[in-house]
């Protein structure tokens, strides 16, 4: 269904604009795809265990300015700054998970609070002033490409493959879905429920950190606002991809296809020269239509 919608979108957009299938436009779309994909995966993992992560964007912003600050102000080499940035993301996610299981408070509330904490640290450290002078090779990676394929696409593709492998072939991966599907039954069968929830949040934080570092390379500066508008997309893509909000059902491939669809819609808005005062409305309506169609398909499958 998603693949069909994407195919129709491709045909319509290439008819609307001959430039749609040019190398540069494909590069632009693939580049937009990178950050959204890992952000969608970050949310998808918490959805898998029946939780929500509202702190994805805030944690992403914190990682972005931490990595930028380490490179620009402290002179850290790129690899060290990126490594530490990933650790900050993992740590932030770990904190979300531990707070959720230790307090018994829903992850929705915990991540709502930690989002404010992460944003607060971000603004406190930067006073809203971005880090502009990032190392040349880091910025070059963000804009580099091989024909239409941006180098920036490599980490998300690797993340997708590893994630698919993790979910399908490893015990903790399968436990994630088991806990999301029926936490009580999972616990009875000996699955460490709390540890799996912590794992989901930690990996979600790690993926948010990857998204932040990619966004930073893409923009060429460490903006405190990175992540500010991730939340809608982080939910839209996994849900269009068929993830259940109650947990237990996610798909790496379907989420990736949903991201392609969302990027197509965004690209199409510009191509179709939509009245600027109606862009936001139309984007929301199209996402709603995509979610609705997918739900309709699921209901039909269940009925059959």
């Amino acid at each position: 269904m998603l693949a069909v919608a994407i195919a129709i979108g491709f045909v319509i957009l290439s008819l609307l604009s001959p430039a749609f299938l040019t190398e540069y436009n494909l590069y632009v779309m693939l580049r937009s795809f990178c950050v959204v994909l890992v952000v969608a995966f970050a949310q998808m993992l918490t959805l898998a265990v029946g939780q929500l992560n509202l702190a994805i964007g805030a944690l992403g912003g914190l990682v972005a300015i931490a990595v930028g600050g380490m490179m620009e102000k402290l002179g850290f080499p790129i690899s060290a700054a990126v490594g530490l940035g990933l650790l900050i993301g993992l740590g932030g996610g770990l904190a979300n998970g531990l707070l959720t299981v230790r307090t018994g408070i829903n992850g929705f509330i915990i991540t709502l609070a930690t989002a404010s904490v992460f944003t607060g640290i971000n603004l406190g450290v930067t006073e809203s002033i971005p880090f502009y002078n990032l190392p040349g090779p880091f910025v070059a990676f963000g804009v580099g490409r091989f024909f239409a394929v941006p180098y920036l696409l490599i980490p998300p593709v690797l993340a997708a493959l590893l994630l698919a492998l993790f979910l399908a072939r490893t015990a903790p991966g399968r436990y994630l879905l088991a806990v999301g599907g029926n936490a009580h039954a999972a616990e009875l069968s000996g699955i460490p429920r709390d540890r799996i929830i912590v794992l989901a949040h930690a990996l979600s934080g790690l993926l948010a950190a990857i998204g932040a570092i990619l966004a930073e390379a893409q923009l060429g500066s460490a903006q405190p606002t990175i992540g500010a508008d991730w939340l809608v997309m982080s939910f839209a893509a996994p849900i269009i991809g068929g993830a259940a909000l109650t947990g237990g059902h996610i798909s790496v491939a379907a989420t990736a296809l949903a991201v392609v669809l969302v990027v197509l819609i965004q690209n199409g808005m510009v191509l179709a020269k939509v009245d600027p005062y109606w862009v936001q409305f139309l984007l929301g309506a199209l996402i709603l239509a995509a979610v609705g169609l997918n739900r309709l398909r699921a209901v039909r499958v269940e009925a059959a």
């Binding site: 430039a19 540069y24 590069y27 937009s32 809203s128 971005p130 606002t225 508008d229 690209n267 600027p276």
Partner: protein, 347 residues
Amino acid sequence: MKRSAGRALLRALPALAAVVALSVGAAEASNNKIALIPGGPHPYFAPWEQAAADAKKDFNIAAVDFKVPTEWKLNLQTELIESLLTQGYNGFGIFPGDAVGINTTIEELASNNAPALALAGCAQDPTKAAFCLGTDVYNSAYLGTKALIKAMGGKGKIVHLAGLLVDPNTKLRMDAVEKAVKETGGAVTLIQHITDTDAQEAADQKINALLGAQKDQIDGLIATAYIPSVVAAKSLRNLGDKRIKLVGIDDDKIVLDAIKDGFAAGTMAQNPYGQGYIGAYVLDLLASGICKVRADAPFIKTPQTARFIDSGTLLISTDNIGSYKDDLKKITNDIRSSIKSKYLDCK
């Protein structure tokens, strides 16, 4: 001999300092606490910090502080202003993130005898803001588009990259771009306005999508907000495209480098430093009760307010890229030295 000369110099120092202070317009130290408050975090306002520090020093004001709301939200800006009022601040230079919504807060300030100026953007009349000191956004966008059209050889297709849709100035800029295009009698056409590009991630996505799909149809880009100017300059450089002409706004290093290297035809400079510096100076005079705004002052009338002062705008191009800062300084000094006699009634 040397010692007595040194003593004489020491004795002369206070007098010398007084002469210097008088020469920049501050007759005596004031106890006023002035706050300069943007609508939210944005690089445009970064020069206000230096302007605040310079105004404090040059005009002997007890405090001039640059305070930034954590986000672009009216309630956060209002809370910050109210908190500063309770901390004893008695003069406020405000960028109204919400041109109408800010008026309730400005009225609250007025009822507490704390004067307010709208800086960099105007509050919508009727307002208790003493006046508005900012860029004439309509004129700036109009002149920028004219410069773009000239760089394109008077014909072609252009796209307008604009800022936040909720900012009423965006509509004024759209109208100004349309006016300049209309004046070409059809030689130049406006393909579209792309808006809400005043956040880095959104600008990157929208501008690159535009260039990806339509770069061969576009001859010129006019950016009337800070972030899209930076992103467009960067994108054209990445694309290696010098055919598409760009005229941006403000003087971010990325845009200036693009002008130097031929990826941008120019950028419309605004005067944020002057807005902060002159704003603090006037607020000090108003808060001290020394001056009042003249009822018959020669303000400019705009669609938003009948009390507007243009803080200056000019086109930066390869011709003046090395000297435009001096030009802006001159504009600032000219406005500051004449503002008292032109717009204020002082004891």
